[in-house]
């Protein structure tokens, strides 16, 4: 009798274990059972918004689920990001992980309600958006060197428009000022569009803007780019040198668009997304769509890879930002 009970017990134990394992993996298999909410921490119409709206259908079909995009703008991306990373880690609330709220805001803005290192599970990086230093076509500066020479001779005389404060362009100008040993004044604007408009009107001498926001002005011949902040020359604008080529590697900061979720997200779910996104980003249709935006380059990285990149950026910013003017 005892032997049988023992055998029975272990049999039940085995069956239970198998069931648990099966259920556990099928959870990942069934995922996503219901629509997944991806929070876009910026308003509708912005580049991040357009990016996700262009690509989410493709990603959704690759992960065999439905994606619902929710805008939660505010605080330069902090509001939406904080909402998503503080949600339940069940995989149904994710966030577009942009660099600015994760690497700049924690340094620049007080009381950011999350720790980018500990509170976030990084899923993947999707793309990188390049910035550029733009001048009007009839500007006296034909190359970056000329700009630097003039700026050295005339401190504080040049005015540069920047998109946002505590943002990547703001940081780019700050680092550039430091590395080129010049003093170009900032004039912050609220959006890429506004910055470009003021450049066109001649109110600022140059502008640090995202490539997509100035693309149509380049093509129509109104503006030129002195240098692009990107690791390689841009495919649609191969004639513009990169900041790295000019010797200002540290100023070559790009902004990344990725996907992330709250801490404690099950690894099975994370890898599902990684796979789906990698497949999507290999699709030539998707690549073409993204590149039409201009200055946005597909740059797939795994969750771990993205996290490494962002943490490196965070460290740089922690070092650089407090020294920038405009910060108390």
């Amino acid at each position: 009798m005892k032997k049988r009970t023992g055998a029975r017990k272990s049999f039940i134990l085995c069956v239970t274990l198998v069931c648990l394992l099966w259920v556990g993996s099928s959870q990942a298999q069934d995922y996503p059972k219901s629509p997944v909410q991806i929070v876009i921490p910026f308003g509708p119409g912005g580049l991040t918004d357009i990016f996700w709206r262009s690509t989410s259908e493709f990603i959704a079909s690759n992960i065999k689920g439905t994606i619902v995009l929710v805008n939660k703008p505010g605080g330069g991306g902090v509001v939406g990001t904080s909402f998503a990373v503080n949600a339940k880690p069940d995989g149904y609330t994710l966030v577009s992980a942009n660099s600015d709220p994760l690497t700049i805001s924690p340094v620049f803005t007080p009381n950011v309600p999350y720790d980018p290192e500990k509170d976030v599970t990084y899923i993947a990086k999707l793309a990188a958006m390049a910035f550029g230093i733009a001048v009007l076509n009839d500007s006296p500066f034909k190359t970056l060197e000329e700009l630097v020479a003039f700026a050295k001779a005339n401190p504080k005389k040049l005015k540069s428009g920047v998109m946002g404060v505590g943002s990547t362009p703001h940081t780019i100008l700050g680092v550039f000022n430091r590395d080129a040993k010049v003093d170009i004044s900032y004039v912050p604007f609220d959006s890429g569009g506004e910055t470009v408009t003021n450049l066109l009107g001649g109110h600022t001498d140059l502008a640090v803007v995202s490539m997509p926001s100035v693309k149509s002005q380049i093509l129509s011949g109104k503006t030129r780019i002195l240098a692009v902040c990107s690791p390689k020359r841009l495919p649609d604008f191969p004639e513009f040198p990169t900041m790295g080529e000019k010797g200002y590697q540290k100023s070559s900061i790009a902004t990344g668009v990725g996907l992330a979720g709250p801490k404690g997200l099950p690894p099975a779910i994370v890898s599902k997304w990684e796979e789906a996104i990698e497949t999507t980003l290999k699709d030539p249709k998707v690549i073409a769509l993204i590149e039409k935006l201009g200055g946005v380059v597909v740059d797939f990285k795994s969750g771990e890879g993205y996290k490494k990149e962002l943490m490196a950026d965070l460290a740089t910013f922690r070092e650089v930002l407090p020294t920038l003017p405009g910060k108390k």
Partner: protein, 500 residues
């Protein structure tokens, strides 16, 4: 003459059955979006963006433009019927439109609003065609100093907006200016009056304030006493504007169109401002300024025309220079870019069918909206017949959803509640909401323009006066502020002469 040929070409593009259908959907969705508070054209445009991938570029643009337009038409519907602004630009329509509805004249109010928008749309489309490129270049001349001067001018017209005590109105203006500073300072990233609330990081939402101040407070006022008396005069006096209404409205519509268009061209100019300006202008030109606020049709006709004209105006820099002027136009540009089109001076050359098709569709869209909205007036008016003891709960629900939906944030609803209470108290103690709203809109813009100007001039104030445009605005503002003194003097003289 070339232009007419191009225009005909444009019409041929639009009048194809598929495009007509897209136009229709666009204006239909736009109207619905406009009617519902809190959902603005930007939200609708972004929801529909994926759809546009499968649709040819011309049709996309027609669809999106239709939405923008429709929203302008729809926004005034709830303003007139329920005192809930469908969007911020419709706030001014609440002032007299709602009062007209209470007097049983909702039909004429809605009608003149539709017709006024239509006429404004027609006029401004022609202005757009002929004047777009030079106007766009003029618009570029507006840098921070010009914006500041314009904002100062805008605030100075406050003097005329107040119907009651000027001191109270000025206090409201200051209140609005202070409220406008809540949030992260856009220039230094320093949090102002946030007190650790992530909701307040981006400031107090305009739409929540406005829905609370107008919509909710109105309900609160009405529930004070029992509903024995009719909130709305149920005997609806006619569904359409009569001859008298037309006679009074033609001038405001014309003026509103011109004002709205030229103000709308300035990039970043909120559509709210031209409506306020139009209202004040009509009040100043009217023989009975004191009656404004009780249901004067001029107070509806002018701002509604200005509203629509301004949206056409915002298309000027968008189409000719490729510069987005707001969230809606940014989306429009985005959609164009996804299709590989480059908005800007090259658009006309590279894709004439898109450009002229768009222009022609604006006109067709306006016609469709008119045809769509007029019969709906009968339907809307019936809504007012719902007994108030049920209607008020619907109104409140609409207010809540409208406040929530902009950011999917329940705390926004709380802000609405607070301002509902504030609005209620303001009504009881004779403080006006309009100056508060205008200050809330103008304040942040004015402050940014001021600080940027000083950044450009390295701290020198001369920049405001050495640039011709900004100098002229400032002088105009000064004249307006000082004019009551002159007027008082002349009135005094008249009285003396009459008496003595």
């Amino acid at each position: 003459m070339e232009v007419f040929k191009d225009l005909l070409f444009g019409f041929s593009v639009v009048l194809q059955p598929m495009n007509l259908l897209y136009c229709f959907f666009g204006v239909l969705i736009g109207t619905l979006v406009g009617v519902l508070p809190g959902i603005g054209p930007a939200a609708a445009l972004s929801l529909l963006l994926p759809v546009t991938f499968y649709v040819p570029p011309v049709s996309t643009i027609i669809l999106l433009a239709g939405i923008m337009y429709g929203a302008m038409y729809g926004g005034s519907t709830t303003s007139i019927l329920l005192n809930i602004p469908g969007e911020a630009a419709s706030v001014v329509t609440c002032l007299d439109g709602y009062q007209m509805a209470r007097k049983g004249r909702a039909g004429p109010a809605l009608g003149i609003s539709a017709f006024g928008s239509f006429i404004a749309g027609t006029i401004t489309i022609f202005l757009l065609i002929f004047l777009a490129p030079p106007l766009a270049n003029f618009a570029l001349k507006f840098g921070p100093p010009e914006y500041f001067a314009l904002m100062v001018l805008g605030l100075s017209i406050m003097v005329y907006l107040a119907s009651g005590s000027i001191v109270n109105a000025l206090i409201m203006v200051c209140f609005g200016l202070i409220l406008g500073t809540i949030g992260l300072d856009q220039m230094t990233g320093v949090p102002r009056f946030i007190y650790k609330s992530t909701t307040l990081m981006d400031g107090i939402g305009l739409i929540q304030v406005v829905i609370g101040l107008f919509g909710v407070s109105e309900v609160l006022i009405n529930v004070e006493k029992t509903f024995k008396q009719d909130i709305f005069e149920t005997k609806v006096k006619g569904l359409l504007p009569n001859r008298e209404d037309w006679r009074r409205s033609i001038g405001p519509i014309g003026r509103g169109s011109i004002l709205g268009f030229f103000l709308g061209i300035i990039p970043g100019m909120s559509v709210v401002i031209p409506t306020f300006v139009s209202y004040v202008v009509e009040k100043k030109l009217s023989k009975y300024p004191e009656k404004f606020g009780t249901g004067m049709i001029e107070g509806v006709a002018g701002p509604e025309a200005a509203n629509n004209a301004a949206s056409t105006g915002t298309l000027v820099p968008t189409l000719s220079l490729g510069i987005p002027t707001g969230a809606a136009t940014a989306l429009l540009l985005g959609a164009l870019m996804i299709h590989g089109l480059r908005p800007g001076p090259l658009l006309i050359q590279e894709a004439p069918d898109v450009f002229w098709g768009l222009v022609a569709s604006l006109y067709v869209g306006n016609v469709m909206l008119l045809v769509l909205n007029l019969p709906l007036i009968g339907l809307w008016v019936k809504i007012l017949k719902i007994p108030y003891h049920f209607l008020f709960s619907l109104i409140l629900l609409l207010c809540i959803i409208g406040s929530y939906i902009t950011n999917n944030n329940p705390y926004d609803v709380i802000i609405m509640v607070i301002f509902g209470l504030v609005g209620y108290l303001m009504k009881k103690f004779n403080y006006e909401a309009a100056p508060l709203v205008l200050a809330l809109v103008l304040g942040p813009m004015m402050e940014k323009a001021f600080r940027r100007s000083l950044m450009l001039s390295d701290g020198g104030f001369a920049i405001f006066f050495t640039r011709p445009i900004s100098a002229s605005f400032l002088i105009m503002a000064l004249l307006i502020l000082l004019s009551p003194l002159f007027l008082k003097r002349t009135r005094l003289r008249e009285n003396l002469r009459a008496g003595g």
